[in-house]
């Protein structure tokens, strides 16, 4: 009896030693903070999905230089306080090497304060220009989402080309909308565009006819709506309802099939800037982003049985950028940061990234294409 016990114990010891031998290299701990629940869940959930998808793929292939990736993901629910708490936790308890996220501009602004002080790289998935600017105060912060500044310049370039010199802007009262409004008002003069009416609506508002009625009474030749969630779809419907025939231009925040579904017939003819993902099938084969977008779309659909999300693409690009940096630099946060800053010609879903000390977003207006909604789908224009 004793002998069997001894043999059993030795066998178990040998087995566990063999098991451990496979995990010789320490895992790279990647922190993730996303708005998985809450009003921005349409951003955070796909982002979390993508992070997990990329990590799973890397780990199945043996990790980065043999180091497996260990993601630790928290849900900030779109709340600034929770985002802050999670960032502290990732730093002190989980000892993350870098953080991907958050999903929103205002949560990103809070988290970057913490990561800057802790000298830890942060790759945000939010759009606000202030996240990576001024560059001298954002040494440790990067972002993968296209900036609203680029979206606005593409929109105004379109307006100028089509002689739409008087526009009305209708912006949502959240951080995204206010940042967009600043850009729309600030960039108008350089494209020869005059903003003849500016109206605001709430994120949860269900009736924008008063604002649109005022716009109807103005000299506007086009309406630019800047918002996310269901409200821009209602703006489209209200516009049709009031018999307004002037073109409606939306922000890249509505570049998803859900918007077309909610707006129904009213979506026809709407123009917006979008990442190349929504129209990748219409891109020429010579476009380097086509292959990357296709791969992403197919993988996402196969794994999650849901249409691919441009928002998830921000996290997809962020994790892949991080993977490249980790492969080059190992587990030293400072070296990871340097590697991220040295990213050149990285073809992502959201655009082609060329980071530099002055530009931690690495994208230019070419990351956007102008699309028009036609017959329930996005069509590439001009």
């Amino acid at each position: 009896m004793k002998k069997i016990g001894l043999v059993l114990a030795l066998t178990l010891l040998a087995l566990s030693a063999a098991a451990n031998a496979a995990d010789l290299k320490e895992p790279y701990i990647i922190g993730g903070i996303f708005s998985i629940t809450g009003p921005a869940s349409y951003l955070g959930e796909p982002e979390r999905n993508c992070l997990e998808m990329v990590v799973e793929e890397i780990n199945a292939a043996g990790g980065l230089n043999g180091h497996p990736l260990q993601p630790v993901i928290y849900d900030d629910e779109g709340d600034v306080t929770k985002a802050r708490l999670h960032a502290e936790k990732l730093l002190q308890k989980d000892k993350a090497l870098a953080i991907v996220g958050p999903s929103l501009t205002h949560t990103s602004m809070t988290v970057l304060e913490i990561t800057q002080k802790a000298k830890l790289p942060l790759i945000s998935c939010a759009a606000g220009a202030a996240i990576t600017s001024p560059a001298k105060d954002r040494f440790w912060v990067f972002k993968t989402a296209q900036t609203d500044q680029m979206a606005v310049s593409r929109i105004y370039a379109y307006c100028k080309k089509h002689n739409l010199t008087k526009v009305a802007i209708l912006t949502v009262s959240t951080g995204f909308g206010m940042a967009g409004k600043d850009q729309l008002l600030g960039q108008a003069p350089q494209y020869g565009v005059e903003v003849v009416a500016q109206e605001v609506f709430g994120e949860k508002d269900t009736d924008m006819t008063p604002q649109l009625t005022k716009i109807r009474g103005s000299a506007a030749q086009a309406v630019i709506c800047w918002g996310t969630g269901p409200a821009p779809a209602l703006v489209a419907k209200n516009l049709k309802q009031l018999g307004l025939t002037i073109p409606l231009i939306q922000s890249h925040g509505v570049a998803s099939k859900k918007f077309i579904e909610l707006a129904g017939d009213a979506a026809e003819g709407i123009i917006l800037p979008a990442g190349k993902l929504v129209v990748y099938k219409q891109l020429p084969d010579t476009d380097p982003q086509k292959a990357v977008c296709q791969e992403y779309a197919e993988k996402y659909q196969a794994k999650f049985k849901a249409p691919e999300s441009s928002f998830g693409g921000y996290a997809y690009d962020a994790q892949r950028l991080l993977n490249a940096a980790l492969t080059k630099a190992g587990s030293d946060p400072a070296k990871i940061r340097d590697a991220l800053e040295g990213t050149r010609n990285f073809v992502g879903v959201s655009g082609i990234f060329n980071m530099s000390p002055e530009d931690h977003n690495g994208l230019n207006p070419e990351a956007f294409v102008m699309v028009k909604i036609h017959n329930g789908d996005f069509a590439l224009i001009d």
């Binding site: 349409y42 709430g202 269900t206 009736d207 008063p210 604002q211 009625t213 009474g217 269901p230 309802q241």
Partner: protein, 289 residues
């Protein structure tokens, strides 16, 4: 300077929203009359009506079926709610019951979030989307449905309370519970019926408004509060007061949004409520109690 057509536009959209508030206010009024409590879960009935109808429509694409089905299901919810959450209460002080309704509202909202998620869903308009022109102002066929059906429901409700035995029995219960019991009216059943009826009205409001405003799990909170304000403004307990309060609120919101600023839209309901409570607490049509 706002033009006549924009004023007309504000008037028309205000009337539509007002009709919805009126239906919700009626729900508050009916329950208040029968039980002297405020049912703060009324807003959630609106939300459930909209979402149930949308789900039914996805199963069987028939709008009349979705409408009737939604109203029926939510009436059941109202009946079951009264039976399970309110009637068993041992010490039915009004404040206890009111807090239970608040709890029920939170529960129903959470349930809706689990069942339908956080996204918005659309329901097709009952008769298409071609706007009708009144001068330079437009009105959607759906707005006409809202106004028409609300007017119809109000008339049916009036007829029900005045002409049918059950309606009269409900009024008797509301007037004097003890006397009603003494003459043999099944008071408990009348109370339960009032909850079912209020839920049905709320559901109807939700299904009518869903093509215009989309159905979301959290649409009930604001609508419930505004419907409540409308009920108080018109006079809690008075049916015509509920309708008047609703219409007034809708118009006030619309004109404030249009003429002053759209940021104040939600504040109007509560400002009006405060005004009425300060100046004429029994509401415009004067309460029955």
């Amino acid at each position: 300077m706002p033009t006549l057509s924009s004023l007309l536009q504000y008037f028309l959209s205000g009337l539509t929203n007002g009709a919805i508030y009126a239906l919700i206010a009626l729900g508050f009024g009916i329950i208040f009359n029968a039980t002297a409590i405020i049912n703060f879960a009324q807003g959630e009935m609106v939300m459930l009506g909209a979402l149930c109808a949308i789900s039914l429509y996805h199963l069987i694409p028939s709008l009349p079926l979705a409408f009737l089905g939604g109203v029926f299901l939510v009436s059941l919810v109202g009946l079951v709610f009264e039976r399970l959450a309110l009637r068993p209460v041992r010490d039915p002080a009004p404040i206890t019951l009111i807090i239970i309704t608040v709890g029920a509202a939170v529960f129903l909202k959470g349930l809706a979030m689990l069942l339908w998620g956080k996204e918005a869903y659309s329901l097709p308009s009952f008769s298409g989307n071609a706007p009708l022109y009144l001068g330079a102002a437009t009105i959607m066929p759906q707005n006409l449905w809202v106004l028409g059906l609300t007017a119809f429901l109000v008339l049916v409700l009036e007829a029900f309370f005045r002409l049918t035995l059950v309606g009269k029995a409900m009024r008797a219960t509301a007037y004097n519970l003890r006397a009603a019991r003494l003459v043999g009216i099944a008071v408990g059943r009348m109370v339960q019926l009032s909850f079912g009826l209020a839920a049905a009205l709320g559901a109807g409001a939700g299904i009518l408004i869903a093509p215009l405003t989309l159905g979301v799990y959290d649409m009930g909170t604001m609508l419930g509060l505004k419907g409540f304000s409308a009920a108080i403004i018109g006079g809690l307990g008075s049916l015509s007061g509920g309708v008047l309060g609703g219409l007034l609120l809708g118009l006030a919101e619309s004109f404030t949004s249009g003429l002053i600023s759209s940021s104040y839209r939600d504040a109007v309901a509560f400002l009006l409520l405060l005004l009425v409570l300060f100046l004429r607490p029994q509401g415009l049509m004067g309460g029955r109690r």
